[in-house]
């Protein structure tokens, strides 16, 4: 099972702060997962309409869309950061 947490406007568009899913078959990379979420329902379509604007952290480390999800239990999906 994979826990996905969402932040900022990704969370708002998804309507939930986190969810736990069974990693879908064929979703090997972070990019695959984002595409699957975008195709899953209307909320996902809104949140992930522009995948190039999505950043990801896998097990606490920032990763690119090509990163393999492997056995990770947690992934965070969010927009570019705007702190400071």
């Amino acid at each position: 099972m994979l826990q996905i947490s969402y932040f900022a406007w990704v969370r708002e568009r998804m309507g939930v702060a986190e969810e736990v899913i069974a990693l879908p078959a064929g979703a090997a990379t972070v990019g695959d997962l984002i595409a699957w979420l975008a195709a899953r329902d209307e909320r996902g379509a809104r949140a992930f309409a522009e995948p190039q604007r999505i950043r990801a952290a896998l097990g606490g480390a920032m990763v690119g869309a090509g990163a393999s999800i492997g056995d990770a239990r947690e992934i965070a999906l969010f927009p570019p950061v705007t702190g400071g």
Binding site: S5, W9, A57, V81, T82, G83, G84
Partner: protein, 146 residues
């Protein structure tokens, strides 16, 4: 002495300064960022990650301490809802030498903008609410340190 904090409570600048300065350093540089009430802004909300935000700040502080000879480093970032005039972030960097204190302070505030998991949402008097977009200039500034 490195001190890093992510907190919903108001940042006590004078208290942080006193604690930071206890060592008596030759040169101290600081940066204070505050909420601006431009365009009728009524609230700034800062979203964060419960674990990775603090980890990102600690990582930045560690990098700065490795890069410059610092006597003390304080990095405090507020999260949650803030009003115009509130302090969002406080950076204090001290060193025997001014160039190192100034560079470390600038490095930390530049990298904070691009490397730490924080997201700003602005609410305005006319009802508009919008998430702040990352600016190209922030990446250009942060990139100077690579």
């Amino acid at each position: 002495m490195i001190r890093v904090a992510v907190q919903p409570a108001a940042i006590d600048v004078a208290g942080a300064l006193a604690a930071h300065d206890a060592g008596g350093h030759g040169a101290s540089a600081s940066f204070i960022g505050r909420v601006r009430g431009d365009d009728g802004l009524t609230e700034l909300f800062l979203d964060h990650h419960p674990v990775l935000t603090a980890g990102g700040l600690e990582e930045l502080a560690t990098q700065a301490a490795a890069r410059w000879k610092l006597g003390a480093l304080t990095l405090i970032h507020r999260i949650g809802a803030m009003a115009p005039g509130d302090t969002i972030v406080l950076v204090l960097a001290s060193s025997p030498h001014r160039a190192e204190a100034l560079a470390a302070c600038e490095y930390l505030i530049d990298r904070l903008k691009t490397d730490v998991m924080l997201w700003k949402r602005e609410s305005f008097a006319d009802g508009r609410v919008s998430w702040v977009e990352q600016r190209e200039g922030d990446h250009a500034r942060a990139g100077r340190w690579m």
